[in-house]
Symmetry: C2
Subunit: 177 residues, 2 copies
Amino acid sequence: MNDTRGAKERIAFLRSLRAVRSFRPEPVPEGVVNDMLEVARWTGSASNRQPWTLVIIREREILRALARMEGYAKHLAGAALGIVPVMDGEREEQEIYDEGRLCERIMLAAHAHGVGSSVGWFVGSGVDEVKEMLGVPPQRRVRSAISLGYPDETSRRRRMGQARKPLAEIVREERYG
Amino acid sequence: MNDTRGAKERIAFLRSLRAVRSFRPEPVPEGVVNDMLEVARWTGSASNRQPWTLVIIREREILRALARMEGYAKHLAGAALGIVPVMDGEREEQEIYDEGRLCERIMLAAHAHGVGSSVGWFVGSGVDEVKEMLGVPPQRRVRSAISLGYPDETSRRRRMGQARKPLAEIVREERYG
């Protein structure tokens, strides 16, 4: 594959990730999960601290329980696999940013194999309930979860547009204002 | 290209991103910058709010001034291009996470073209100084910057290993503890 064609394919791949919230029931193969975890492992972080542990959840009852907790993670109920990043809880601002980097990579690695994903978010009492259910010590931080599975193409949400702002609206040269 | 080979190439691509802090002087071509911005534009965000504006900086004097501000962004001084995400400043935790997702995508899009990158971070008085220099209104948030350029392969830092924790240390099944 020549380099220009390779670059074009990689850009098309990066551009094409979209949130998927409805999943088919079949499991995500172990080889795919391993690729996701390896990509996660190599994600960059502030001072290379890698301030994360990933809890992998396949049990339907746990996924359903997490989906009911306060927040925006209902799609976990139907996911074939959930991943909850548990963050070390040391430098909050950098860790949240690193958590975003990590989750983006995991979702891209899933997408590389045709596996869909979306981000869930816990708020209020949901955070402590998730920590208790997963046995996470108090000093560690939990705020997001990733739902994963093969996309249910018949789902209405899957077919809905996910529009984006035009570049002219989000890009400035040299100065913001 | 068959699908298994495609997936393998995409995973290898995602795994291979490493921080680059020393750059060759030549500019990043406009086509590459456009690809990075398009990939950025399609990044997912909480409630699809896209709470960002990207300030693109090519002027050497501005890059050098930013590199001197309080924080960890010295590598901007030698970058061919800098990008400073200006965040809307509305829902802090989700915005920091979204900023991490956005920056990871931009760095991967650069990497798709062989362009290196690393994250810079502003703290203390650095944050307000960056905002003043770039004309960012008080209610908006600035915390990170991305340095971009073709890697200087002769640099010692480029050749240094960037080790990662083994999977066994960062992965748990079903429960954290």
